[in-house]
């Protein structure tokens, strides 16, 4: 896994050593909360309403991988209160945070899970929508997960929502990061340099190629942020 430090990898064992782990986990949690609004902005929810929701049944089974502190699940539960929600994350503190939220519908089933390497605790063909946001760019090999997603999605109707960063020129990335929340102003420049490689690992074309190699067709896509793109895909 690439040490992204954007929050997802930061809660993994690669970064959170026993000495400074609690501080890093708190930072990661705070950063996830502050940056949630940046990623899940109006453009994203417009895309979700226009292209994702019409593909779903009334009471969909929805899984969020690398769910962080559960904010996406919380918002989905407001939009789809009958949904059966599941959330998995590598960070125990994230799952504990997600468990404390008040959901509009039934609370999600939550679990600590290394989603890059471990089989998902879900039955074959049981999921209507599986989402993963700002996490897959950290995976050294994304294709085993794409196979696992195919296994758990319902045949024909199941959908995969990939929401992740795509590459922009370095000068643009640095300039944009200096204006965004999530870090103290003095920390923004060094963190932008630190995170540049991970957040800019794949271009939009690379993501299309990854999905195609994983035998997925893209149903819809939209750039909802200057550097983030949502892809709705279905297994071929």
């Amino acid at each position: 896994m690439v040490p992204c430090l954007c929050g997802y990898a930061e809660k993994g064992p690669e970064v959170t050593g026993p000495g400074d782990g609690p501080v890093l986990r708190d930072q990661a949690l705070r950063r996830q909360l502050e940056r949630y609004e940046v990623r899940y902005n109006e453009a994203f929810w417009s895309f979700f309403e226009a292209r994702v929701r019409p593909e779903l049944p009334e009471a969909p089974v929805l899984v969020d991988l690398a769910c962080g502190p559960g904010l996406f699940l919380l918002d989905v539960s407001k939009l789809l209160p009958a949904a059966v929600l599941h959330g998995y994350d590598a960070g125990r503190d994230m799952i504990e945070g997600a468990a404390m939220l008040q959901y509009a519908g039934a609370p999600p089933t939550l679990g600590v899970q290394d989603v890059e390497r471990k089989r998902l605790p879900l039955k074959d063909g049981s999921v209507d929508l599986l989402s993963i946001a700002a996490a897959m760019h950290t995976f050294d090999d994304p294709w085993p997960l794409l196979d696992e997603v195919r296994r758990v999605l319902k045949p024909l109707t199941g959908r995969f929502l990939l929401y992740d960063w795509f590459r922009v020129p370095m000068r643009d990335y640095i300039a944009q990061r200096l204006e965004e929340p999530g870090d103290a102003p003095d920390d923004r420049y060094p963190r932008a340099l630190q995170m540049f490689a991970a957040h800019n690992r794949f271009t939009a074309d690379d993501w299309r190629w990854i999905l195609a190699q994983g035998r997925y067709d893209i149903v819809a896509a939209a750039s909802t942020h200057a550097r983030a793109r949502a892809w709705l895909a279905k297994p071929i």
């Binding site: 020129p169 000068r171 540049f196 490689a197 690379d206 190629w209």
Partner: protein, 227 residues
């Protein structure tokens, strides 16, 4: 900084041996043609030249043959590389060599003493290239030349499908290794490198890809020192 060894999952000795095996394909006649055209004419008769990240010393050996009279220096993070460089035969005086972590230690050369600084396939590993380039400018003469030879970004499909220099025993393990390397090797586009060099106070006088489209030579000079 993640080292080459950490990225590729090999030992110091394995990396050294791979660099020895692949040296000729990276520093071939096309590469040296760029140096001869754009760097050598900028050098004085007995230039001082340093290779930062010199590896097992083969570039310095070649430089001793191609740039006679040069006073050579070489530093590398990995002692096994430096030890190998000490065993080589050079055309002129052997280079001054040493183990050095350029991110933690200052470059042990006098200020404004180098006519040329060469750096090959190292700078892409640094999270903050600007801090290091400030140190580099410190040892470079105002009239000196910086030769950056490094990876530039290509599409993931092209990267994974490019011909590898060595046979692959386990394709799945190799794909995983290449995906890990992809993040480091494709950190910068050519446009990014130009921006980094410009921000760090360099003018680019040559910019070519002599050996492969994913490896580029940037010949740069400190701003306001162009001859």
């Amino acid at each position: 900084m993640t080292t080459h060894q950490e990225l590729s999952g090999g030992s110091d000795e394995e990396l050294r041996d791979r660099m020895l095996r692949t040296h000729e394909s990276r520093f071939n006649d096309s590469y040296w043609a760029v140096v001869s055209q754009h760097v050598v004419p900028r050098l004085p008769p007995t230039p001082s030249i340093v290779d930062l990240g010199c590896g097992p010393g083969l570039f310095l050996r070649d430089a001793s043959q191609r740039i006679p009279g040069a006073k050579l220096y070489g530093f590398d993070l990995t002692p096994a590389m430096v030890e190998h460089a000490r065993t080589l035969e050079y055309a002129g005086d052997p280079p001054a060599l040493g183990a050095l972590d350029v991110l933690k230690q200052s470059i042990p050369l006098p200020e404004s003493s180098m006519d040329a600084v060469f750096m090959s396939a190292v700078l892409h590993l640094f999270d903050d290239p600007f801090m290091f380039l400030r140190s580099l400018r410190g040892v470079l003469k105002p009239t000196g030349t910086f030769v950056l030879y490094d990876w530039v970004r290509i599409a993931l499909a092209d990267y994974l499908n490019r011909p590898l220099r060595e046979a692959v025993a386990d394709p799945i393990a190799e794909r995983r290794r290449q995906m890990k390397l992809f993040a480091a090797h494709n950190r910068y586009t050519a446009e990014d490198w130009r921006w980094v060099l410009g921000e760090a106070g360099f003018d680019i006088v040559a910019d070519e890809a002599p050996t492969a489209k994913w490896f580029r030579v940037f010949v740069a000079t400190p701003k306001r020192a162009r001859r």
